[in-house]
């Protein structure tokens, strides 16, 4: 128990130190383009962490995680364009749309589990995608929502580049700390019990549906934060943000990094963004390389990159003692 508390403090320290290190990057001459890629990677990291909470910790495999992300992006983008670009206000509005939607949808779909849940989650994201395409008066259809202003924070305009990077980093670090707290809490431990065996969890008196429902809502809410950041970074959004290919991408990031680990999704998101950038000389080559890496990871390193790291760490540890 004492070791656990120490490990938890160590993790918090690691998050803060990592964030501080990343915050130094713009001041040590890192190229602006790399900063842009890092911003995108951090947004994806937030999104992948939210998926990890649902899929990795609670064992609910989702193929429609673009839903919360895209919905949050549309809500924040529309509000920012029509009313004010204030970041906190936009974030609040985004959550006021995403959270009730997640609570309503989650209430119904958490009746399902396994493959049925995975497929229905895909269906829900596809419904939102179709609505974004069809509801032209609000979403501008396939053209997408454009003309989202730069965000302002407490009255100060946050410019693209270093400023947005630091804002994103701050949000990502805070969410990461929050998630660490959450997964170590009794609530988080209960999720582990549900993932391991939902029937047994129910048998010892855990309200499985209530927990799944809450996780679903929290996960969507965090995805909505990522969507809000993304809509400000891109200055707009399109229905493609809700497409199932995006759901596949975020799933891959989390798996690539390692499901059920705190840092896995972050590593996965960074690897995804930089690998994609390295390969985008030709889209076909990227997709081919992406597929090969993906299959190899699942076949040979099923616990993802984090698994590789922790396994090597374990081996080192054993060799030392």
């Amino acid at each position: 128990m004492k070791d656990e508390a120490r490990a938890r403090r160590l993790t918090s320290l690691l998050i803060v130190a990592g964030a501080a290190l990343l915050a130094l990057l713009p001041f040590v001459g890192v190229a602006p383009f790399t900063i842009t890629l890092l911003t995108e990677a951090l947004i994806f990291a937030v999104w992948a962490m939210s998926l990890d909470l649902m899929t990795g910790y609670a064992g609910m495999l989702t193929f429609g995680h673009a839903a919360g992300f895209g919905l949050g992006g549309y809500a924040a983008g529309y509000f920012a364009r029509e009313v004010t670009g204030d970041f906190l206000a936009s974030l609040l509005v985004s959550e006021l749309v995403v959270l009730p939607a997640a609570l309503a949808i989650g209430f119904v779909v958490t009746r399902l589990s396994g493959a049925a849940f995975a497929i229905v989650s895909l269906c829900i994201a596809q419904v939102l995608f179709q609505i974004a395409v069809a509801w032209r008066s609000v979403t501008d259809g396939m053209d997408g929502l454009v003309g989202v202003p730069l965000p302002t924070l407490l009255g100060v305009t946050v410019h693209n580049g270093n400023q947005l990077y630091l804002l994103t980093l701050l949000v990502a670090a805070m969410l990461c700390l929050g998630l660490r707290q959450l997964v170590a809490s009794p609530f988080g431990r209960t999720l582990g019990a549900i993932r391991a065996n939902a029937d047994r969890a129910a048998a010892i008196g855990i309200d499985v549906r209530l927990h799944k429902w809450l996780v679903f809502a929290i996960s969507w809410a965090i995805a909505g934060v990522a969507g809000t950041l993304m809509v400000f970074m891109k200055g707009g959004t399109t229905p493609m943000s809700l497409h199932w290919i995006e759901s596949g991408n975020v799933l891959i990031m989390a798996i690539f990094g390692g499901l059920g680990t705190l840092f896995g999704p972050i590593i996965g998101a960074v690897a995804f963004v930089f690998l994609r950038d390295a390969f985008t000389s030709g889209f076909a080559v990227w997709q081919l390389a992406f597929g090969i890496v993906f299959v190899v990871v699942v076949l040979i390193f099923p616990s993802g990159l984090a698994g590789v790291v922790s396994r090597s760490w374990m081996l080192l540890w054993q060799a030392r003692s």
């Binding site: 049925a116 895909l122 090969i292 993906f294 699942v298």
Partner: protein, 298 residues
């Protein structure tokens, strides 16, 4: 005046129904393969759409490189895809069958990306249009409408092949083994069924069906690397609605999905697909095993 308007409306309805039936025949072919592979090995095959696209590209490869006619290429395309699918199954799916279902789902997702990427690498991202093949190039008069003859022929071929699949499973020794594995894999193995070999064969066979559907559909929907993605999603809806692993359910589901799409598309444009997804989600919530399914879902 109003009677004439009613006639026009009725005609519009009729053409939409006809289009739905044609699309349903293709969906039947693709979802049968999806359902078989799930029923036997509990593999949710995300690469099924990519194999469908592979069929379309195998068709044009045989036609352009080999100088063959459409019909010969139509037969050759699945025969080219089947061995590739068998190699894929042995190399990537077979080694992880003992792992949770989720892992095979993820691998097939990656495979889909590899296949589509390889197609784009070799043939580029462009769209290839194929004219309707020789004896059926024209149109035919259906209740006063000029309807492309090839569509009806292609639908007929799909239906005949599907009936063949049903007959194979219902009446042949191989079909008996397949049904045995679907019922109880452990017991089937104890009775001497070579499960490993049969799972590989069925995967190859299902890929062949997808490839045939892709090649058949090529003159109707055009060929492009992502051509399998929409049909994959629709086929998923079919098997989920019909019950994963239930072939009869797939047959009914295929026409339900296709007709809903084409009728809805005729009157409500893009809203129809959203509506269809809602129906499927609602059906799954009421009956998690699928409307016609008997077994478990996960």
């Amino acid at each position: 005046m109003s009677r004439r308007r009613a006639a026009v409306d009725l005609n519009f309805l009729f053409i939409n129904i006809l289009n739905g039936v044609v699309y349903g025949a293709f969906l039947l072919l693709t979802s049968l393969g999806l359902s078989l592979v799930f029923g036997l090995g509990r593999v949710v095959n995300f690469a099924h759409g990519a194999l469908y696209a592979m069929g379309g590209y195998a068709l044009i490869a045989v036609m352009h490189a080999g100088g063959a006619g459409y019909w010969l290429a139509l037969v050759a395309a699945p025969l080219l895809v089947i061995p590739i699918a068998i190699v894929i199954e042995r190399a990537t799916i077979d080694p992880i069958r003992h792992r949770p279902d989720v892992d095979t789902l993820l691998v097939t997702f990656g495979l889909s990306s590899i296949i589509v990427g390889a197609i784009e690498y070799v043939w580029g991202t462009g769209t290839t249009l194929l004219p309707a093949p020789a004896p059926f190039a024209g149109t035919v008069n259906v209740l006063g409408n000029q309807y492309p003859l090839y569509r009806l022929i292609a639908a007929l071929v799909s239906l005949l092949v599907s009936v063949g699949v049903f007959a194979t499973i219902a009446f042949t020794p191989v079909g008996l083994r397949i049904r045995a594995i679907t019922d109880d894999a452990g017991m089937a193995q104890a009775l001497g069924v070579n499960i490993k070999r049969l799972l590989t064969l069925v995967f190859g066979f299902a890929a062949g069906l997808a490839a045939l559907a892709g090649a058949l559909a090529a003159p109707i929907f055009a060929i492009h690397p992502e051509m399998g993605m929409n049909i994959l999603i629709d086929s998923f809806l079919v098997v989920v609605l019909g019950g994963l692993g239930s072939l009869t359910g797939s047959a009914i589901g295929a026409f339900f999905v296709a007709l809903t799409k084409s009728l809805g598309g005729g009157y409500f444009a893009e809203w129809s697909t959203a509506f269809l997804f809602l129906i499927v989600a609602a059906a799954l919530i009421v009956r998690p095993t699928g409307v016609f399914g008997r077994g478990r879902v996960a």
